[in-house]
């Protein structure tokens, strides 16, 4: 059965300010979606609301994942159900090495499924980590560094993709993963996503620029404006945006989007 993430008429606010004003979206395993739009239209808010960030309040609507209503579910439970968010600004965890972090994360996931689980044996974990790092063409010494602590922008994004590869979620949200990357880093990250995508992974790429879509071909493209998805289409929609900018979207939807 295909796992589905379904967002239904989602409204959210933060500190009383309305951000999302009725978002509808369906992402299935095996699909790659791109969510585009100008800054400040609610794209990153959507990513964090899907993940259950405690600062956002869902005022209306639903998030369904694998048939369950996530709306009231804690962030860690959502993650263990198979939802993943690659952060725009990954957070440093000083004192915790990438390897140690990933091992414990795997254990957290497996323990949730089986309370008796004793933890992944070290040799098995080493083998797994090596495979994943090789898949993403990462130097093995990366595993010994403290997670995101003193990482360059590109290293942080690659560490996010490594986590994605290791935790094997069914739906991954990539929040502006392409921002702040030079072209080489972008290519590496995009290759990583392409390597991982397949029938068991659905991807929602949130991006301001069309650039990353030169490397990752989306099945569907959505445009967000003022807290709603106002256009959806195929890969050509992104190309159209690249050529025309967002002005035509604004003009077309001016006044239709509720303030």
């Amino acid at each position: 059965m295909t796992d589905i993430l379904e967002v239904k008429n989602l409204h959210t606010s933060i500190d009383g300010q309305k951000i999302l004003k009725g978002v509808n979206l369906i992402v299935r395993e095996g699909e790659i979606h791109a969510l585009m739009g100008p800054n400040g239209t609610g794209k990153s808010t959507l990513a964090n609301v899907l993940m259950g960030h405690p600062s956002y309040e869902v005022t209306k609507g639903q998030i369904l994942f694998k048939g369950e209503d996530l709306t009231e579910m804690a962030t860690d439970e959502r993650a263990r159900m198979g939802l993943f968010l690659a952060f725009q600004y990954p957070v440093a965890i000083p004192g915790v090495s990438v390897a140690n972090f990933l091992r414990q994360a795997i254990n957290a996931h497996r323990k949730a499924r089986d309370p008796e689980y004793k933890g992944i044996p070290i040799p098995e974990f080493r083998k797994l980590l090596k495979e994943k790092m090789d898949l993403l063409e990462m130097a093995h010494e990366f595993a010994g560094r403290y997670l995101n602590d003193g990482f360059s922008g590109g290293e942080k994004k690659r560490a996010e993709i490594l986590q994605l590869a290791t935790l094997e979620p069914s739906i991954a949200i990539l929040d502006e993963t392409d921002s702040g990357l030079d072209i080489d880093a972008l290519r590496i990250v995009a290759n990583g996503v392409n390597t991982l995508s397949g029938p068991d992974l659905g991807v929602l790429i949130i991006t301001h620029y069309q650039r990353i879509l030169n490397y990752i071909k989306p099945d569907k493209v959505h445009i967000m404006l003022d807290g709603q998805i106002v256009e959806s289409g195929g890969a050509d929609l992104a190309q159209h945006l690249e050529e025309q900018g967002y002005d035509w979207v604004r003009e077309k939807h001016n006044g239709k989007v509720k303030g």
Partner: protein
């Protein structure tokens, strides 16, 4: 020169003084007699007693004691006695490396010491023994070295411990001897309304090296108070290298006072790691004197306070010779209504050019009512030096917790991971898995797991 450079003895009239200890000169004499001390050792002991008698009880109007009030200690009930019979907690006896200790020495005040030896120390001329044996069989080492590092003049409690100590550990490593296995000693002092004293004397001769783990511990008693006062003296000679890990895990009824000082000679190296989790109140003075050119000292502190514990650690890094390096990192976490004070000073003498001195104290406050005071200080009298200091008091931040939760960690595990990460720089300095395990266990206990 006096290496304690801060003016710390402004005395004003105190309104309400702490009570005084009830010990007498006769108590001191009988301790000396029981040990069979040499004339020199006895004279030192009696001089310490006189010093003790001449000093007033510290009060919060004395600068080093400004944040640590000991008036709650009821000394009228405190008396000399043997320690109780509670056996040493089994986790303390765990080997430090794989299956073995190089040697294990267990001291219990008023009882015979227990000693296990795996590495043949005597053959190498190494002395690792209890105080009574040291006085009886190694008086020449004590005569030569004792009190040269921590003089009784260091303070009221240094004088008290010097006068009253009947227990202790002597570690003496002759020139050129490099010990492979860690040495391990435990001072175990169960008891209520008691006063326990002990001293540790570590002497490494030229080019010697050793790893030594010493623990001061007792079980918590539900009522009553107990005093512990101790002295730790460390002498690291030219080109010698010592790794010294000490843990203070005293019961919650214990009021603990220690004076600790290391002298490191030319090209000597000291790696000093300090862990504090026990006692009701602790006041520790720890000084690192780099006395010879090229001497290095790394000084790592770990503390974790809970309930109403009060830890006050006073550190001093004294650069007394050129090209010396000191690196202090103290990290502490606090929960409940606990309180910590760290006051540190880097002193660089005029002749100590090309000195590197680093000092950092980081505190993690895990509850609203806990409090940490962090007071770094520099006093630099040389002009070609590199010294930095930093102090922080912070809390767990929401964003990393959220980040970890998005990876599937329940909140509690996410917090635990942040706490482990906070202490990681200290853990990495700890030699041997067995010792690291002990420190991890202490975190577990503090977090109530």
């Amino acid at each position: 020169m006096s290496s304690r450079t801060v003016s710390r003895r402004k005395r004003v009239v105190r309104k309400q003084e702490a009570s005084e200890f009830r010990f007498t000169r006769e108590d001191v004499e009988s301790i000396s007699q029981a040990l069979g001390e040499s004339d020199k050792l006895k004279a030192q002991r009696m001089a310490a007693w006189e010093k003790f008698e001449s000093l007033p009880m510290p009060s919060t109007s004395d600068e080093p004691w400004r944040r640590t009030d000991i008036r709650g200690l009821d000394l009228d009930r405190i008396k000399l006695q043997a320690s109780g019979k509670t056996p040493v907690a089994s986790e303390l006896l765990q080997p430090l490396v794989a299956e073995s200790h190089g040697a294990l020495l267990v001291l219990r005040p008023g009882h015979a010491p227990e000693f296990q030896e795996e590495e043949n120390l005597q053959e190498q001329g190494v002395v690792f023994t209890d105080w009574a044996t040291a006085v009886r069989e190694h008086a020449e080492i004590l005569d030569r070295t004792m009190d040269t590092v921590v003089p009784a003049e260091d303070g009221k409690f240094a004088a008290l411990a010097a006068a009253m100590s009947q227990e202790g550990v002597l570690l003496y490593v002759p020139a050129g001897v490099r010990l492979q296995q860690p040495l391990h000693s435990i001072f175990w002092a169960p008891g209520i309304d008691a006063a326990f004293f002990h001293r540790v004397l570590i002497v490494l001769e030229r080019g010697a090296s050793a790893v030594f783990f010493h623990e001061t511990a007792s079980p918590t008693e539900n009522e009553g108070q107990t005093v512990h006062a101790g002295i730790v003296e460390i002498s690291v000679a030219e080109e010698a290298s010592l790794k010294f890990v000490e843990v203070q895990n005293l019961g919650r009824h214990v009021w603990n006072f220690t004076h600790e000082r290391a002298k490191v000679a030319r090209e000597g190296r000291l790696d000093w790691i300090f862990g504090a989790v026990g006692s009701q109140l602790t006041k520790t003075f720890s000084d690192l004197d780099l006395t010879g050119q090229g001497a290095e000292g790394r000084f790592s502190g770990f503390y974790f306070a809970n309930e109403r514990q009060h830890f006050d650690h006073d550190t001093q890094q004294n650069h007394l010779a050129p090209n010396t390096m000191s690196d202090l990192l103290y990290k502490g976490a606090l929960v409940d209504q606990s309180r910590s004070v760290w006051q540190g000073m880097i002193y660089v003498a005029p002749e100590a050019q090309k000195t590197d001195g680093f000092q950092a104290n980081r505190n993690l406050i895990l509850s609203k009512k806990a409090r940490a005071d962090s007071i770094p200080g520099l006093e630099i009298l040389a002009d070609d030096v590199r010294c930095t200091h930093g102090a922080t008091v912070g809390q767990l931040e929401d964003l990393p917790i959220y980040y970890l939760m998005t990876r599937g960690f329940p909140r509690e595990e996410a917090e635990r991971m942040m706490i482990d990460g906070f202490f990681a720089p200290i853990m990495e300095r700890i030699p041997f898995d067995g010792v690291r395990e002990r420190f991890r266990g202490m975190i577990e206990v503090k977090l109530g797991n």
